[in-house]
Symmetry: C3
Subunit: 113 residues, 3 copies
């Protein structure tokens, strides 16, 4: 029987337009993250839409949230790597502290080195 | 090139029945949040269902999770504003500490002043 | 009018293959959690897929994220209870600190004692 292993990590929640999903996943692959999870078909509104008062519901504006959990230094590198992308495209990244429990022998979807 | 800007904020995850989504989004708009993201088609179970042992799967009970990220004082105001609503309707709010990285020039869906 | 009640709790985000959802929910029911929320139809990739460079998109590999919020001691018990499961099945659990606001008289989907 294995012991529980807890690791303090950073969780990144990267919210972008669905059409930009592959770009972000490619960047994560090149950063050698060990996994990620994608939540599909989110809707949302940013400040730019506040005055029009409508949600971004057309197909191009369907959002995805890409969740990955990485060590702190890798989190910083990923944020740096995303900066040019976010100068051209809508999105935001939430960063939070998290403990990851690797309970078994299998590799994890969604993260953690 | 822009520097990365980190801000300590509160993340609110507001889980309500789908039919109540517009009420909550209207309240967030009136609170002048700068953005939010909606995760659709969640299912769930609260304590009221524990004895019946079934999920809330009928159409009226499809849940949504509305994510918004705001300064701490605005978080408190939003929670106050939601109190009358939650005296009539099912739901819960999770509050957590988060860092928001505004990586580019675009406004963010899902939050952050 | 009720006061706001804040409680410090642990949020568990349990990501497993969709076909394993019922097993995890049964375990949570037996642990007497007061609620949970399920986010459906996630995709993801774990380390095992990194070399093939493709997402797990076939039907069996659709993922779900089960969110529950519990006191710290119950979180530890649930993680222990999941260990044999994760020795046989793909998945990961993220644990984070959270404040739960019970705003009204109704029970909460997605958690909190």
């Amino acid at each position: 029987m294995q012991e529980l292993k807890h690791s303090a990590m950073k969780k990144l929640e990267i919210i972008v337009q669905g059409e930009q999903q592959d770009f972000v996943l490619d960047l994560l692959d090149r950063a050698a993250v060990s996994g990620y999870t994608v939540v599909h078909n989110l809707s949302g509104k940013g400040s730019h839409g506040a005055h029009q008062g409508h949600l971004m519901f057309n197909e191009d504006d369907v959002l995805v949230m890409i969740i990955t959990v990485v060590p702190e230094d890798l989190a910083a590198a990923i944020l740096e790597g995303l900066t040019p992308f976010f100068n051209k495209h809508l999105g935001v990244v939430f960063t939070s502290d998290i403990q990851v429990t690797r309970l078994g022998k299998f590799q994890a979807p969604g993260g953690a080195a």
